[in-house]
C-alpha cells in the first residue's frame, strides 16, 4: 500500500546543516509553521531559505533567522519583518532579493527541468548588476535568470491523502504548488487527511507525484490564526 503519511519525528532525519530549503507561504496563509518548528528543533544551521517573505517578527521563518540558523535568504521582500531587516543590515544574514514573480518563475523553472529563462524585469535598474545578459537577434538585451532548486521543500496544504495529493485553501496556495515541484525531498503538512479518491481529480492542486512525505498537523497553533495587528 502506498502511504506517504508519516510522523513529524520521522521527517527530522532529512534535515542537514547547510541545506537549501524552500518554505511555502505568503504571510500566515500557506506557511508550514509546524515543519518550521521541527526544522528549528532539529538544530540544523547555515541554512539557505527560499521564501516569498520572512514572515513577521518572531513568527515562522523569522524564528530560524532569530536563532542564528540562517546563512542566506533568497527572497522577494522583508517589508513586514523589522527583525529580519536588522539581521540583514548587521551583516548577520546574506539576502538575495528578487522581484516576486521572478522568484516564483525561478522556482518553477527548477521544478520544470528548465535551466533558466529570459526576462526584461529590472533591466533598467540596479538589479541588472552582476546578472548574465543575453542579446537577442533582434537587438534586445535581456537578463538570463537561472533556475532555483532546493534540497527540501516545506509545504502547507489544507487537505492531503496518502498518495500525497494536495489541496490548498484560499490565499494559502501562493508559493506552495510551485515549491512542491522544485526540491529533492518534498514534505507537506496537511490540516486534514482524507481517503484516496475523496478529492475529486479536478480539484487536486498538487498531484501526489510531486510529494514525498505527508505529515498531519495535530493541532492548529495560534501561529496559524488571525494576526491581530492586521485586523481593523
Amino acid at each position: 500500500m502506498i502511504d506517504k503519511v508519516c510522523t513529524l519525528a520521522s521527517v527530522m532525519k532529512f534535515f542537514r546543516d547547510r541545506q537549501t530549503i524552500m518554505v511555502g507561504g505568503f504571510g500566515v496563509p500557506g506557511t508550514p509553521f509546524m515543519l518550521i518548528d521541527a526544522l528549528l528543533e532539529s538544530g540544523r544551521s547555515a541554512l539557505t531559505l527560499v521564501k516569498n517573505e520572512a514572515n513577521e517578527d518572531h513568527l515562522g521563518v523569522s524564528k530560524l533567522i532569530e536563532a542564528g540558523r540562517v546563512e542566506k535568504l533568497i527572497i522577494s521582500h522583508l517589508g513586514l519583518n523589522a527583525t529580519a531587516i536588522g539581521f540583514m543590515n548587521r551583516g548577520e544574514i546574506q539576502v538575495d532579493f528578487y522581484p516576486q514573480g521572478i522568484l516564483a518563475e525561478k522556482i518553477r523553472s527548477g521544478g520544470a527541468g528548465i535551466f533558466g529563462f529570459l526576462t526584461d524585469i529590472g533591466i533598467d535598474t540596479i538589479l541588472k548588476k552582476g546578472k548574465e545578459l543575453v542579446k537577442t537577434r533582434d537587438g534586445r538585451e535581456l537578463i538570463l535568470e537561472p533556475a532555483t532548486r532546493a534540497d527540501i521543500s516545506l509545504i502547507h496544504a489544507a487537505q492531503g491523502d496518502r498518495y500525497g495529493n494536495l489541496v490548498y485553501e484560499k490565499s494559502a496556495r501562493n508559493f506552495n504548488p510551485v515549491m512542491a515541484m522544485a526540491a529533492d525531498i518534498v514534505i507537506a503538512e496537511v490540516e486534514q487527511i482524507v481517503e484516496v479518491g475523496d478529492i475529486s481529480p479536478d480539484s487536486i492542486h498538487t498531484p501526489g507525484a510531486f510529494v514525498d512525505h505527508v505529515v498531519v498537523i495535530e493541532e492548529l497553533t495560534p501561529d496559524y490564526g488571525v494576526l491581530s495587528r492586521h485586523v481593523l
Binding site: H77, I85, F97, G101, S171, R173, P177, V178, G225, V231
Partner: protein
C-alpha cells in the same frame, strides 16, 4: 478629507468598469471606498487573488484570506484564487489594466523610484517592479512632497529606479499630472491651491495647456 482621502477619491475617477486593477500599499488601498457601489472592478492581489472586496469587519476575518499587505479581506462574487506563478503571469502577460503605486521619487519622464533608499531603507522588491514595468497603465498616488516638504517630482530620479518611463499619471493632494513626450503636463489642480504653489513644490517643469485648469476636491 485628509490628503490621502483627496488623492484616493480623485484616483477612483480613473477607474472604468470591468478593469483589472492592482492597489499598492498605503494610499491606493483607500481608493475602493470612493468607487460608485455599482462599478464592478476586479482587484488583483499578488498573493493569488482576483476579485477582492473591502477589508473584513472585525470578527469576520478568515485566517487564509489576506491581501498582499497582510490585511484580512472580503471577496467579490466571481473571485478566484491561484498560485504565485499565475498571479505574476497575469501582471507580466499584460492583463493588468491599472497599477496604483506609491512613490519616493518620480521623474518628468515617468521613471519611478519606490523601493530602495541605499543605506537607509531596503525592505526588498516584492511585486512592485513587475507591476510598474508591466501594468498597461501606472498611476502614482502620492503626497506631492515628502513629510519634510521637499519635492518628489524631479527632472531625473536621484534614487535607484523601480522601472523606467512607466508612470502615466501622477495624482497628489495638489495636482493631477500626465507624463507626455513633451514633459509633465498639469491637467488638474486641487481646490484650495494655485499654480504657483504647485510649481514651487515640483522640481520638474510643468506644462500648462489651455487657459483654465480644471479643479478637483
Amino acid at each position: 478629507m485628509s490628503f490621502k482621502e483627496i488623492i484616493a477619491k480623485r484616483a477612483a475617477r480613473e477607474i472604468r468598469p470591468g478593469q483589472v486593477i492592482n492597489l499598492g500599499i498605503g494610499i491606493p488601498t483607500q481608493i475602493l471606498q470612493f468607487l460608485p457601489a455599482d462599478t464592478v472592478v476586479f482587484i488583483h492581489s499578488e498573493n493569488g487573488i482576483l476579485g477582492i472586496g473591502p477589508r473584513c469587519r472585525r470578527g469576520t476575518e478568515n485566517r487564509n484570506l489576506i491581501d498582499a499587505g497582510g490585511n484580512y479581506v472580503t471577496l467579490q462574487p466571481g473571485a478566484s484564487f491561484f498560485d504565485s506563478i499565475l498571479s505574476f503571469s497575469l501582471v507580466r502577460g499584460g492583463r493588468l489594466d491599472i497599477a496604483f503605486l506609491g512613490a519616493l521619487e518620480i521623474s518628468a519622464k515617468g521613471d519611478l523610484a519606490n523601493w530602495i533608499i541605499p543605506g537607509r531603507y531596503s525592505p526588498g522588491i516584492g511585486g512592485g517592479m513587475e507591476l510598474a514595468q508591466k501594468a498597461k497603465r501606472v498611476i502614482v498616488t502620492t503626497t506631492h512632497t515628502t513629510k519634510e516638504g521637499t519635492p518628489k517630482i524631479f527632472p531625473e530620479c536621484t534614487l535607484p529606479i523601480t522601472a523606467k518611463a512607466c508612470v502615466g499619471t501622477i495624482i497628489t493632494e495638489l495636482a493631477v499630472m500626465e507624463v507626455t513626450p513633451e514633459g509633465l503636463v498639469l491637467k488638474e489642480l486641487a481646490e484650495g491651491t494655485d499654480f504657483e504653489t504647485v510649481k514651487s513644490l515640483t522640481a520638474a517643469p510643468l506644462i500648462v495647456k489651455g487657459d483654465s485648469i480644471p479643479r478637483y476636491s
